[in-house]
């Protein structure tokens, strides 16, 4: 499984756009990039997943450069409720038995 590296923590003011970058130099050809959000004492929640270029949903955008060795999760106009830990995961997503491995994640603190 490809190893991921992301900042341990980030602070942002309310209303700002937040970008969290994840490095995954050993990503394999069939690996997808997935981001999860976790609040204290809750299970992680799926945010977004992508393979290449840009993916956008109602919550976030995911930017993946051509070499796919990194990815950036973008949260537009964050609010206090976006304070959470964000995990970047890389792994195969072609069906079958999908072992998903988490790192330490990035603790985002949104400041009023």
């Amino acid at each position: 499984l490809a190893k991921t590296t992301q900042p341990i923590s980030m602070d942002s003011y309310e209303g700002q756009e937040v970008n969290i970058t994840c490095s995954h130099n050993n990503i394999a050809t069939n690996d997808y990039i997935t981001w999860y959000q976790q609040f204290p004492s809750q299970g992680p929640r799926f945010i977004i997943q992508g393979y290449k270029t840009k993916v956008t949903n109602e919550v976030a955008s995911l930017f993946i450069p051509a070499d796919r060795k990194s990815s950036t999760l973008s949260l537009p106009r964050v609010s206090l409720s976006d304070t959470a830990v964000y995990y970047c995961l890389v792994g195969a997503n072609s069906g079958g038995y999908q072992k998903v491995t988490f790192g330490i994640g990035t603790k985002l603190q949104v400041i009023p």
């Binding site: 809750q42 299970g43 992680p44 072609s94 038995y97 072992k99 988490f102 994640g105």
Partner: protein
């Protein structure tokens, strides 16, 4: 649409005891994975069940065992509890044989405290 349900929500056990945690997957999901999350750490993969068999296992001792039932629900058993087993235990469900474009669905976990 019910999500992943875990029980109990909290549990206190004594060292050396045994514990059983339960998980009901999201409707339509047939694969269950278990994770252990210590305070301040990311979730660590324990094992995954599909078609009532353990399909993958993380780096956990044999004290950790599981079971999946015909209705896809699952149990996690931990024997000979150690203080270090204190953690949040998370269950995640997914569809085993199809691409999981929407990722895993996690339950809220069981907080196990070993004293």
């Amino acid at each position: 649409d019910a999500g992943v349900t875990q029980s109990p929500t909290h549990l206190i056990k004594t060292r050396g005891q045994q514990v059983t945690l339960r998980c009901s997957p999201k409707s339509g999901h047939d694969t269950v994975s278990w994770y252990q999350q210590a305070l301040g750490q990311g979730p660590q993969f324990i094992f995954q069940y599909y078609e009532e068999e353990e399909r993958q296992r993380g780096n956990f001792p044999d004290r950790f065992s599981g079971h999946q039932f015909p209705n896809y629900s699952s149990e996690l058993n931990v024997n000979a509890l150690l203080l270090g087993d204190s953690a949040l235990y998370l269950c995640a469900s997914s569809t085993g044989q199809q691409p999981s474009y929407y990722g895993y669905t996690f339950g809220s976990g069981t907080r196990l405290t070993v004293v």
